[in-house]
Structures are given as C-alpha cells and as structure tokens.
Amino acid sequence: MKIVACIKYSLDASEVKVDAASKELKMAGVPFKVGVIDKHVLETAVSLQEANGGTVHAITVGPAKAKESFREALAFGLEDVTLIENPLEGQVAPDVTAVILAAAIKKLGNVDVVVCGEVSDDGFTYQVPPRLAEALNMPQVSFVRTVAVENGQLVADRDLEDSVQTVTASLPALISVMEESNTPRRPTLLEAMKAKKKPVNIWNVEADLGLSIAELQQKAALEKVHAEGVVVHRKQQIIKGDDLNALSNELVDLLLADHVIEGGA
C-alpha cells in the first residue's frame, strides 16, 4: 500500500502580533515550523502503513530553505519527503497548492491513500483537501477521527457538528484528519538517527511536474488588496491577592461601575 502524507512548513500564527496603533501585522521574526496538525497526519499515515504494509511518502509545497525542518517528520518512519519549491511569491494559495500537490501525487503513481490535515496551522482555509480530492477524482472523507483499511476499502469515522458517521470509501481515497484523531508518537533517538540518512527530494514545478508557473499564477483567484490586524481594546486590569473575599468585592465593584450588574442589595 502506498500512502502519501501532505504536510506543511507553516507560519506559527500564534506568534503574529498586531501593532495596536497602526493595526499593522508584525510578521518580522515570526517562526515557521512543520505544522502541529501535521504530526497527526504523519501518525495516521504511519499507523495505516504499520497495519497494512507498504510505504509512506510525505509531500509539501514550500521554500527550499525548509528542507532541514523535515527531519522529525522523516523519523516517524517515512521513506522520503518531497519538497516542491513554491514557485510564487509569498504564501502559496490553496487553489494553487492543490494543483501542485495533485501533479506530484500523480507523478508518485499508484497511491492508495492520501492523508491531509483538516486545516493548516497558518492558512486556515480548509480548502486544500477537498480541492485535492477533486483534482485527483478521489472520494474524500473529511474530519476523520478513526481510520482503517478493511477488505480493500477505507473505513473511517467522520465527525460533523450534528453526527458522527462511520463511512466506507473505495481506494484510492483522500482523508483529512482532526487533531483529536490520535496522539502522535515521539520518535526515538535511534529513529531520529536513521532519519538523517533519508532523503528530502526537492522538485521544481516546471522541470519535475510539467506545470507552467505563468498558469499557476493565473490560478491564484484571490488578489490581496489590504491586510490589517484585528485590535480588540480591553481594559486588561489585573486584580490579585490572598484574600478571596477582598478580590471578589473588588471585582463586584468593577462590574457595578461598568453597569454589567446592578447593586442595591
């Protein structure tokens, strides 16, 4: 069985701060790393491989400088990571990412299961997995909690707002997993050492995938015309001390002054 895990070198969105005066997003120095959700993706892919045999390959679209960031991913037990160099400026848009990933998965050939995260840590659009399933003409199971392959077909629990559904799908199929789907393993030192010998292949969209950069540019359907931080003004008044009665009365005073509650007792 050939399993592909789609992962992403993501910006740590929790480190993005906003300048309260100018509303500017402070992007300088915000770190990038392989996403938190991607550990759940890798755990799912490797668990499927352990249960069914075969190989796991990770693919990603990003900058070539991310190459060394995939050592921990390789230590999960992957054959290799293929890093397709982002051909466009800045963050790659979900419509473009899906086209590139689809071309790479077709080139890998004979893929049985594609595993994605429900949403990337930074893009947060939820668009790539369904777009990729459409491009590959595969059934998709989104928001997966549990997954197995039984009798040559995928069996998964899909977690929606109002229901949990057990579904089956013919292979090849694409799944997107939730962060609740598993607890990712922590690779051992030995696995980390072995991973150093495994390759991170770098592919070029034109040379390796036969895509046109000009056409990919055309596919990016959204043009950003403005960006700003969301500034929420809060009083940020801290009260502390050992006397809980005093603290309580102080908080009641503040809520009375704000007319959130009425006095008179």
Partner: protein, 315 residues
C-alpha cells in the same frame, strides 16, 4: 443570473447570509438540497430570497460530500451567479472547496464582509485564525465565500420566493455512510445567551462544573468550554472558538482558559470579559477587561456568594 446564490444545510445560516446578500445585490437566490424539499424552502422568500432553487434526490443524504458537491456545482453551472455564499459548517467547508475546484472559483474563507460591484466581488476575511483581516478581490466568476454562523444578521423582508426545482445529475458516490450516530443536542444555544461562563482545561474535574453552573445561573447564562474540554474530555458536545461557536454575551467569565487566539475568537465579541486563572502569565489576561489571578476552584464560590449579597437582581 447576476447576483448572489446562498447555500447552507442550516436554515438559520441561510437566513443570516440572505440578510447581508439582500443589502449587497439586486438579485438573491437560495439553494436547498436534500432527499426531499424541506418545509421552510418557500418561507425563505420572507428573509430575502427572490428564488429558491431545490434539488431533491435519494442520494442527498447524510451530507455525503460527493452527492452534495454534484448538486451544488450543478445548480451553480445552470444559474451562473456572480457570488456564491456557503455557510462555514464542516460540511459547508468541505463541499464549497470541492465545488470551487470543479467550477473554477476562488473562495474567500471565513468572510466577514463583502461587496458586489457590477459583478466584481471584494471580500474581507479573517486570517491567522482571527489575528488579522485580509481584503481580497476575487478574480473568478463565480466568486465564492464561506461565512461563519452569526457573522451576518437575518432581516425579515416579508417577500415571497419562487420555488424552482432544478434537475442536476448526481453520480452514485464512492463514499457510503454505513452508520449514522446523531450527537446529543447541545441544549440551550450559547450564541443567544446574555452571559457565558467559559470553562477551560484549568478546571480539574467534571464535578467542578457545578461552580460554573451556579455562577451562570445568577445571570440566566450558559456554561460553555474550550476545544480540548469538549473534544478530549467530552464534557460538552461543542466548543467555543474559531472551529466552534462564537458568542456575543454582555458578560463572559473565563475559568482556567489559557487564551489561545483560536479560542479567544469565539468570545471576543462579548461586551465585558473577566478572566480567572491561577497563572499570572496566561495570555487570556491581555484579552480580558478584568483578570483575577486566583485558583478558580476556590475563588468562584466566594465570588458567586459576593454577587448574591451585593446585587439585588442576582440575589
């Protein structure tokens, strides 16, 4: 048609999106998809739809993504709207992106405002899980956008809609639903509560929820929670935050919430936020009006008693 087409499997979300669509465009239509046409289809006219397109098929069950994609893409190809708004439920997120790939549309995710000017769509979207907001021009026709619940407000127009059945091909799906387990209803709606007590992982045990409930009860409020308290501890069927519900309470009191942006997005439309956490460095304190550095298990009962003593209305 030029104008806006609205889709969600949730009636409330359809009405919310119609409310905004009606202000933005001359022609507004809704789509309803299902095994049969729901009773409310015609009534959407009163909330701003000129036309309600319906597709009914035995394959449109259980929110099967393949069947619902076929149906929505089929309607879009026949109706040819300028903009398609899709409610950002899990199913909506899933099928909107797949439909977009099929019809060649760009999608503005988690749209909070938009304008439609002679067929050209500009949309404001939340980015970095709510830290910022990007404005995009969407270069495709149709343009698409996903919209969270409670972003827009329904407006009753008292109009009437023409209900039109649309015939679209739906292929037998490769995904088959073999067991459907309905989740327990969440009880009262958090979105409508005047006051919220928001419980995080700092609360030690489910038995301690009684102190949160006693506090909420003073205000006719509701007890809600963060994602791990729901998804890992299973204390509640749903959670507050970017991937969950968003509340607009007059007062939200957080108990043992650390304050990740993904969670704060769910409560930041509250008028007043009070945070109670024993960690003085918790991020939630910079997102709150009043922060109490204390053990919530000890503080909350004392605070609840003080409220009863000092406020006639709460006594």
């Amino acid at each position: 048609m030029s104008g806006i087409l609205v889709y969600s499997e949730k009636q409330q979300l359809i009405c919310e999106m119609l409310g905004k669509a009606r202000q933005a465009a001359d022609k507004v239509a809704a789509v309803v998809l299902g095994e049969s046409v729901p009773d409310y289809a015609g009534a959407l006219g009163a909330w701003g739809a000129d036309v309600v397109y319906t597709v009914s098929s035995p394959l449109l069950v259980g929110l099967n993504p393949e069947s619902f994609t076929d149906a929505l893409a089929g309607v879009i190809e026949q109706v040819k709207p300028d903009l398609v708004l899709v409610g950002a439920t899990k199913s909506g997120l899933e099928i909107s992106a797949r439909v977009a790939a099929r019809v060649g549309a760009g999608v503005a995710s988690f749209c909070v405002d938009f304008s439609l000017d002679e067929g050209s769509v500009t949309a404001d979207c939340m980015i970095y899980s709510g830290v910022g907001k990007n404005t995009y021009k969407i270069k495709t026709k149709p343009a698409m956008a996903t919209v969270n619940p409670a972003v827009f407000t329904p407006v009753e127009t008292g109009g009437a809609a023409e209900v039109t059945a649309v015939n679209v091909p739906i292929n037998p799906p490769a995904l088959k639903i073999i067991e459907y387990k309905e989740k327990a209803a969440a009880g009262a709606k958090w979105e409508d509560a005047p006051m919220i007590v928001d419980v995080g992982q700092g609360m030690r045990s489910k038995d301690d929820l009684v102190i949160a409930e006693a506090l909420a009860a003073l205000f006719d409020g509701q007890v809600a929670c963060s994602r791990p308290v729901s998804s890992e501890r299973d204390w509640f069927p749903e959670w507050l935050g970017l991937s969950g519900k968003r509340v607009h309470a007059d007062l939200t009191i957080t108990l043992g919430i650390s304050g990740s942006i993904q969670h704060v997005v769910g409560i930041r439309d509250s008028k007043i936020i009070v945070a109670i956490n024993n960690d003085e460095n918790a991020g939630i304190f910079s997102q709150a009006d009043y922060g109490v550095v204390a053990d919530l298990h000890e503080f909350v009962p004392v605070f609840t008693a003080a409220l009863k003593t000092r406020s006639a209305k709460l006594a």
